[in-house]
């Protein structure tokens, strides 16, 4: 494993599969009498959140607590950051408090990378600007493998099969929506292609990143053409708060061309699943009936978030703290 987790692109295929396999094992802790492991006892994990977040922060908090780490939550609101403290000074404060790992979410792309210069503990990127959100990509990959992974040798889809050690080879994943502003899309394209999936991004021309041809994926403007050949439909949130210009005429037009409704869902292959990183805009990128259908993995994604983050924290903090990292 790497010392820090900043980009999904830093993970090799072996690293990624190790995280998924570890999460697979940790998922069984959920069903036990005592849902706690002593592994990270005595270590401190700081959640440093400069942006609002419910599921990611609580998910990291739950993950760290299940592993018996001490958790300090630090949100920009109501802290010295509101008084103008810089990221560096905050980092030095955390360093002085002996943080073994810092989980950071920041509105500026690149903030987690910068933080690695200032703290001696591990840094986990929990979303930076429009750059990356690697743990979301890991939990998405985990969910896809759980629902669609192929049992070894058979090429058949099936739940319950042992998928340890397997990637996502040959699965067709289509990521739809505001790709331009989406850190989830960026991390997913990098990770899923590392794991062997064929990724296609679909967006209106105005929401397609300029350098998309350098990404390890196909790009398309036409959602309807991709429906029949997708095993996974990953719908992205329309991020109104990051849109500084008019990227499409109206919500209604966006929905008509890029929203996943029941009509479009009917055109998906029988086994295909529908994902959304949340929070959803029901009725914009995804219709309520689709979000609540049994093809939707949205609730499973949240549950898997905790186990995947436990796996990441365990693999980063559970071993020797110095030497080969």
């Amino acid at each position: 494993m790497n010392r820090h987790l900043i980009s999904a692109g830093d993970l090799s295929r072996d690293d990624a599969i190790l995280i998924l396999d570890t999460a697979e094992e940790l998922a069984s802790v959920e069903g036990r009498a005592i849902r706690k492991l002593p592994t990270l006892r005595g270590l401190t994990v700081v959640n440093l959140f400069y942006e609002d977040s419910t599921r990611t922060r609580t998910s990291f908090e739950a993950a760290a607590k299940r592993l018996s780490a001490d958790v300090i939550n630090f949100s920009a609101k109501g802290s010295s950051v509101a008084k103008g403290e810089s990221l560096k000074d905050t980092a030095l404060t955390l360093e002085a408090m002996g943080a073994d790992a810092v989980v950071i979410r920041h509105q500026a792309s690149g903030a987690p990378r910068r933080l690695t210069d200032w703290v001696s503990g591990r840094v986990v990127n929990a979303g930076d600007g429009t750059h990356e959100h690697p743990t979301q990509a890991l939990l998405d990959a985990f969910t896809i493998r759980q629902r669609l992974g192929r049992a070894e040798g058979t090429g058949l889809y099936g739940t319950g099969a042992d998928r340890r050690g397997q990637g996502l080879d040959g699965l067709r994943v289509t990521i739809v929506g505001d790709v331009l502003h989406s850190r989830v899309a960026r991390s997913n394209v990098l990770l899923l292609s590392t794991l062997g999936a064929q990724v296609t991004v679909v967006a209106p021309p105005t929401l397609m990143p300029l350098a998309v041809e350098t990404w390890p994926c196909r790009a398309s403007y036409d959602l309807d053409a991709e429906l029949g050949k997708s095993d996974v439909m990953m719908m992205l949130r329309v991020q109104q708060e990051r849109m500084t210009a008019a990227y499409f005429p109206t919500i209604r037009e966006y929905r008509r061309r890029y929203g996943l409704d029941t009509g479009r869902m009917a055109l998906l292959p029988e086994h295909a699943i529908v994902m959304h990183p949340g929070p959803m805009n029901r009725g914009v990128e995804i219709a309520a009936e689709v979000a609540d259908s049994d093809r939707s993995t949205i609730v499973a994604q949240v549950a898997n978030g905790v186990t995947v983050r436990m796996a990441v924290l365990y693999l980063m903090l559970g071993g020797a703290t110095e030497g080969a990292a």
């Binding site: 396999d21 980063m316 071993g319 030497g323």
Partner: protein, 227 residues
């Protein structure tokens, strides 16, 4: 937990041990009180230079058969017994024991596996390791007689971790320990209830158990130092 059994190949406890036994007592067989089985050149097993076979496939088979009988005796016909193997090789040994008990008594004993990685006390000494599988039989362990199964009993630290891990899974009525090889050098007050073979070793020697399921053949090998 009591390990007194009047079995022929059994010793009450590991002989001449203690920490830091260095430099002598290197012989891997014919320990005092042992029935002096192996010694015969058990077809120098592959596994490299410096390894010598101390248990043959037949001896392993007999040891497991005996342990299966002992478990049945001690638990009154295997009532309420759950076998939990410690990965990797303990799991295969647990399955073999369950198969034998099934043959002898016609009862199906639940088998599972118990990964102890997250409970180890030496996690910080090495890079994080991959987890192995924990599979508890559907009826759980509450009120059962859990027999932990491992290949080699050495410092006892793995078993301590296993006891902690088990604690989080439920509350067994009692816990017993079965091992294929007891090589001595305990660092904790832990003792096995069922032992396949007591193997006096020097602290620096290595014991390697190979099983057909993953290694292609059954054998127990004793190796000198840094292998």
């Amino acid at each position: 937990m009591c390990a007194m059994r009047p079995e022929p190949v059994h010793e009450p406890g590991p002989s001449g041990q203690g920490h830091g036994v260095q430099g002598h007592g290197v012989q891997g067989h014919g320990g005092p009180g042992d029935s002096g089985v192996q010694a015969r050149p058990a077809a120098p097993r592959p596994g490299g230079e410096g390894w010598k076979a101390v248990l043959t496939p037949e001896e392993i088979r007999r040891a497991l058969t005996r342990i299966a009988h002992e478990i049945l005796e001690r638990t009154h016909g295997g009532e309420g017994v759950v076998l939990l193997g410690i990965p990797t090789r303990g799991v295969y040994l647990a399955r073999r024991l369950a198969a034998r008990i099934g043959e002898f008594e016609g009862t199906a004993v639940p088998v599972g596996s118990l990964d102890v990685t997250m409970h180890r006390d030496d996690l910080r000494l090495r890079p994080a390791r991959a987890l192995q599988r924990t599979q508890v039989p559907p009826d759980g362990v509450d009120g059962k007689t859990v027999v932990l199964v491992d290949d080699v009993l050495f410092s006892g630290r793995t078993i301590r971790a296993a006891l902690d891990a088990l604690n989080d899974l439920g509350r067994p009525r009692s816990v017993q320990l079965a091992v294929l090889v007891d090589r001595g050098h305990r660092e904790l007050p832990i003792r096995a209830d069922y032992v396949g073979k007591n193997l006096p070793t020097a602290h620096r020697e290595k014991v390697r158990v190979q099983l057909a399921e993953i290694d292609g053949e059954d054998s127990v090998l004793l190796g000198e130092v840094d292998q």
